[in-house]
């Protein structure tokens, strides 16, 4: 298979003809899109459109019924994500994710949460536990570095003061930020965020935007996010893909998508036959402005 020819090097993720069937229900139907390296791509759509299912397919928690998901690393290595087990997607393909309903290790401290995320690196440094158990210095050094990296992300996420508290003790917004920091500790090239702004107040939401922007700026990590909060989507994303009933209805820049009549119809819940009316209405409006 000549993947190289089909893929541009500035594309990090390419989803092609993705379909997912649950029993008789077609949750995703022939869905294709691309995410560019270093960009923030948003996946939006009404409730039940299949956004989280797409995420679960990308991160390996579901195996798609059909389709191909290609991840293109900076160094040129390519992975077919639909063929990898979930943990290897993070370990080798360098894709990290967060969850819609936060999944922290609530009984571990904030710092420990970030150390768990560096498991694979530390595992090698500890000689798969054997050398570490015998007290070899390589592990001690690696452990120190791991704490330094954790510290770096704690500062970024504004959680440094809470480092020694149990993760379950944090406020909702802080838990969201911790989950992102934890995902970043795996050193991902692509970070998938499932509704990072859900349940946040405007101030927390703004802080989140800053965090996400600085992740992209400082590490060059590409971001893929599902979001309902349009202010977040429109403000930070470079590229928006709209999903409805498991199918792509729009794809483009935030401005393009915002004015797409199909999107408006999907969000406002217009009957199918009325879509035409909306389109003509929008067109006439645009004509009027021009």
């Amino acid at each position: 298979m000549s993947l190289e020819t089909t893929m541009n090097s500035d594309t990090i993720l390419k989803v092609e003809h993705l379909s997912m069937k649950f029993g008789g229900l077609m949750a995703i139907n022939d869905f294709s899109f691309e995410a560019k390296r270093g960009e923030i791509t948003a996946l939006i759509g009404p409730n039940g459109a299949g956004k989280t299912t797409v995420f679960n397919c990308i991160t390996g928690f579901y195996k798609p019924t059909m389709g191909m998901i290609v991840l293109n690393q900076k160094a040129g290595k390519q992975y077919l994500l639909e063929r990898l087990p979930d943990f290897e997607i993070t370990k080798h393909a360098k894709v990290a994710r967060t969850f819609q309903n936060i999944r922290l290790f609530s009984g571990l401290t904030v710092l420990e949460n970030l150390l768990v995320a560096q498991h694979n690196k530390l595992m090698v440094a500890s000689g798969f536990t054997v050398l570490g158990l015998l007290g070899f210095p390589t592990y001690r050094k690696a452990a120190k570095e791991a704490i330094e990296l954790a510290k770096h992300w704690l500062e970024k996420a504004d959680l440094i003061d809470r480092a020694d508290d149990p993760a379950g003790d944090l406020s909702y917004g802080a838990q969201r930020r911790l989950e992102i920091a934890r995902a970043m500790c795996t050193g991902p090239e692509l970070l998938c965020l499932d509704e990072p702004a859900a349940g946040l107040n405007p101030r927390e939401s703004a802080a989140l935007n800053t965090l996400l922007r600085s992740i992209r700026a400082d590490t060059g990590t590409s971001l893929l996010l599902i979001e309902h909060d349009m202010s977040v989507v429109m403000e930070i994303s470079d590229h928006v893909v709209v999903l409805e009933y498991g199918q792509k209805i729009s794809d483009g820049t935030p401005d393009h998508v915002k004015n797409d009549p199909k999107v408006i119809a999907a969000y406002l819940g217009v009957e199918d036959d009325e879509v035409e009316d909306v389109i003509s209405e929008v067109e006439s409006l645009e004509g009027g402005v021009n």
């Binding site: 989280t52 679960n56 928690f61 579901y62 969850f99």
Partner: protein, 300 residues
């Protein structure tokens, strides 16, 4: 062929007993999500209650008709086991409801140890044999069916019908099913959750006591350790049928009974428990939701 059908009848009898115990497991698991490890010992306790009542009856009224004696034994054993399980639930399980998930399991294991040793201390460690209550055997097409087996299967059918009626056609049953679905919501809608759970324990115990009485009648002997193996097998039956499902528990009980008697008939009897435990392991590994259970979906 006759031998095979003979084993089927034996298996069905045994399976009826397991099925009746299994219902207690499955109901309690369904309603509060806990493995009531002490349930097997409630079964044993029911057997002992029946034994003591039998001794009282034969001591006081020598010529009492068997039917009357059996009926009194059943009723007293059901009351006794119901009272015990009600008390245990109130004292040991209720304070732990909604706490740490392992705590009720450990409490139930402790209760199981305490109950079997209570009987050992108060009634002695030896086997308790009784003379056969009913001994008629009928011969149908070359297959011998004893009256005991007929009684056991009949009582099982009658009790299960009553039970099915209670769960599906009465307000109590509705309350039980509601509590099973969502305890908090049921409480908000005015279901007395504590009482419903208590009643569930009492009902499960009563069925276990019937099983205990039948067990005593069938084998003619009971001992304080009798709670464990039948208990684990009944639990296996509940899991095999799909835990939480009442018809599943009965089906699982019958299957376990059949497997056990057929295995003993055609293979080595020494490994019959190994066969049962292996089936438990295999079913759980390949179809954790059992035959009639609802599959649990992992939500990400």
């Amino acid at each position: 062929m006759e031998y095979f059908i003979q084993q089927l009848v034996n298996g069905l009898t045994l399976g009826s007993i397991y099925g009746m115990i299994a219902i207690g497991y499955t109901m309690v698991y369904g309603i509060i999500g806990m493995i009531n490890f002490a349930h097997g010992d409630i079964f044993m306790l029911g057997g002992f209650a029946a034994l003591i009542v039998f001794l009282i009856l034969t001591g006081l009224f020598a010529g009492i008709p068997v039917v009357v004696a059996l009926l009194i034994m059943l009723i007293v054993a059901m009351l006794m086991a119901g009272l015990w399980n009600w008390t245990i639930e109130k004292v040991a399980y209720r304070p732990l409801r909604g706490s740490f998930r392992l705590a009720p399991l450990i409490t139930a294991i402790g209760m199981s140890i305490a109950l079997s040793n209570f009987i050992q201390v108060t009634q002695g460690p030896r086997n308790k044999p009784i003379p056969p209550l009913v001994s008629s055997v009928y011969n149908v097409f070359g297959i011998s069916i004893s009256l005991k087996q007929i009684i056991i299967i009949l009582i099982t059918v009658v009790l299960l019908s009553v039970f099915w009626y209670i769960v599906h056609r009465t307000p109590l049953g509705r309350a039980q099913r509601a509590t099973e679905q969502d305890r908090k919501m049921a409480a908000l809608l005015g279901v007395d959750v504590d009482r419903t759970i208590s009643v569930t324990f009492v009902m499960g115990a009563a069925l276990a006591a019937v099983a205990g009485t039948m067990y005593l009648m069938y084998y003619g002997v009971v001992v304080f350790t009798d709670g464990f193996i039948p208990g684990v097998k009944a639990f296996t039956a509940a899991v095999l049928g799909g835990i939480g499902s009442l018809p599943g528990a009965v089906l699982g009980g019958l299957l376990i009974g059949l497997i056990e008697s057929l295995w003993s008939a055609y293979f080595t009897i020494a490994y019959k428990d190994v066969a049962t435990f292996s089936i438990l392991a295999i079913v759980l590994i390949f179809k954790p939701s059992g035959i009639l259970g609802r599959p649990e979906v992992e939500k990400v």
